[in-house]
Structure formats: structure tokens, C-alpha cells
């Protein structure tokens, strides 16, 4: 199945941006997002193919506009919801709570 993720040979993306001495993670949350995905995998809640497929189902415009580890986070959330581990509603409720307690700036 092709899709937005199937990028081989696509024209028009321009030059390759490189960063000297790039850190492994640019923000602490990126390492956490990777770790939480691996917790889902290691815990047997979903497998690697399911996880990749979840990321590939992110809507194309969003896929292109969010960063790499945001795709990991969204893929993890999709899989945990699909498997009944953390429902989308439960996640939204917690997000709202945290957002209020952190000053409502979200």
C-alpha cells in the first residue's frame, strides 16, 4: 500500500538539511516518546509492524507537518487506544487535567 510515508523517488522536497554534531535527542520529550513506544512494544501491547502501520495511517498533512518523534507518540497513542490499554478519552482527560494544572496554556 502506498501513502505519504512511501517517499522513495518523490520529487520536490528540496535539499537535505544537515546539522553538525547533532544530539541524539533535541528535546527531553523525544527520548521519552521513544521510550514509551518501546514500553508498549516490550509489554506486548502491540508489535513493530502494527506500530509502523499506525504511523503510516497518520493523516498525510499531519504526517508531513509533525516531527519524527511526534509521529512515534501519535503511533503509540493510536495503538494503545486500539488495544484498549489507554483509551483516547482517558488520554484526553489526563491531557486536559495536566494542561489546567500547568496554567492552561496548552
Amino acid at each position: 500500500m502506498n501513502g505519504i510515508h512511501d517517499m522513495g523517488g518523490v520529487h520536490g522536497y528540496g535539499p537535505i538539511d544537515r546539522e553538525e554534531d547533532e544530539p541524539v535527542f533535541h528535546h527531553a520529550w523525544e527520548g521519552k516518546a521513544l521510550a514509551l513506544a518501546r514500553v508498549g512494544l516490550a509489554g506486548g501491547h502491540f508489535d513493530l509492524d502494527e506500530f509502523r502501520h499506525a504511523m503510516e495511517r497518520i493523516a498525510p498533512v499531519q504526517y508531513l507537518s509533525i516531527s519524527y518523534y511526534e509521529r512515534w507518540l501519535e503511533g503509540t497513542l493510536m495503538m494503545l487506544d486500539a488495544k484498549g490499554v489507554v483509551s483516547a478519552e482517558e488520554f484526553q482527560t489526563r491531557l486536559d487535567e495536566l494542561s489546567k494544572s500547568s496554567g492552561g496554556g496548552a
Partner: protein, 193 residues
């Protein structure tokens, strides 16, 4: 999934739920981050390359069955993936990409850099590898063949760069300094001494 929710908060929300449900403990999260941030990385792949440059029997094993040869050096597959190592020669220059996402040999190179995961590299490494190599400052003669290896979740490629000329007298640490991450992806050569 709205754009006004900041991602840091979303990660925190998921982390708190997983902790609360007892699906993970905080030290385990720190352990995973430490593994990827500090213990996996191109320093491991560099040691594999230097051994292959200096030990012909190991090089033969590496090219015949990279998964086993890499485990022999103490670097285990992270996700049960198989490894293939492809050798650069004056006649053949190999380059690795993952057009679908970001598959990368974690055991030897750690997590991929942002450019490897970016749309321009994924798109163009497949259709215009020589152009990409020029962008990385790597000139390949017209007579040499360029081979592009598209990685996937089960099978991950690493390039064995050519040992630079004039390094015959160098020790292993000196050689290690010449092996860059990019040379093991194939977008550059190993550095000259």
C-alpha cells in the same frame, strides 16, 4: 490531535497514565533513554569496521553473516532485526536509506540523524543517489557503480567503507577516528588520515 496541544504535555500525559497503570516504572524509562542516548551509537559500528579492516577472517564472517559477526563483537540486535553489511570498493559504492521511514542499524549506529529520516533524503537517495552523494561532498567516478539499499524493519544495512590509503601503520584507535557515522551509511567515505 490538535495543533494547539503541545507535544511535551502529550508525552507527559501518556507517561503518567502508563506509570499509574503499573505498565512501566520510572527507572525503566530512564534506562531506555540512557541506552539510546549513551550506549548505542556509531562508536560501536566503528569498532566493527576497524576489526574488518584489520582481521580478514572477521571481515569474511561479517560479509557472510553480519548479524552473527556483530553479535560476536557484543552488539546485540535491538529489535531482533537481521543485519547485512555491504562493502565499498573502488568499483562499487553502497548507500543506505529507508524510504518508508527510518529503519537503521541500531545495534551498530544507534538512532539515525534527522536528515536520514527527512523527506528529501528518503525521496532522493532512491531516485538520484549520485546527486545526494555530491551534496554530501562525495564524488563517485562515472565508472563506479552506485548501489542503494532500502532498509526495512526486519533487515538493516550498514556500509563497510574502504580503508583509506596510507593507514597501514595506524593502530586501532587511530583507525577508529577515521570511521564516521556517515561513512557507514555510505553518504561519505571514511576520513583520510
Amino acid at each position: 490531535m490538535t495543533s494547539d496541544n503541545n507535544v511535551e504535555l502529550r508525552v507527559r500525559a501518556l507517561e503518567s497514565l502508563l506509570l499509574e497503570k503499573g505498565l512501566v516504572e520510572a527507572p525503566a524509562i530512564d534506562e531506555i533513554i540512557d541506552l539510546f542516548e549513551n550506549r548505542l551509537g556509531p562508536q560501536n559500528g566503528g569498532k566493527v569496521v576497524v576489526r574488518a579492516w584489520t582481521d580478514p577472517a572477521f571481515k569474511a564472517r561479517l560479509l557472510a553473516n553480519a548479524t552473527e559477526a556483530i553479535v560476536e563483537m557484543g552488539y546485540d540486535a535491538v529489535q531482533g532485526e537481521d543485519m547485512v553489511v555491504v562493502e565499498n570498493t573502488p568499483e562499487i559504492h553502497n548507500v543506505v536509506v529507508c524510504t518508508l521511514c527510518s529503519c537503521f542499524p541500531w545495534a551498530t549506529l544507534g538512532l539515525p540523524p534527522v536528515w536520514y529520516k527527512s523527506a528529501p533524503y528518503r525521496a532522493r537517495a532512491a531516485s538520484d543517489p549520485r546527486g545526494v552523494l555530491v551534496e554530501f561532498g562525495t564524488e563517485i567516478s562515472d565508472e563506479a557503480q552506485v548501489r542503494v539499499w532500502d532498509s526495512n524493519a526486519e533487515l538493516r544495512y550498514m556500509v563497510l567503507p574502504e580503508r583509506p590509503a596510507g593507514t597501514g601503520a595506524m593502530n586501532e584507535d587511530e583507525l577508529l577516528a577515521l570511521v564516521t557515522r556517515d561513512s557507514m551509511i555510505g553518504v561519505t567515505r571514511a576520513q583520510n588520515p
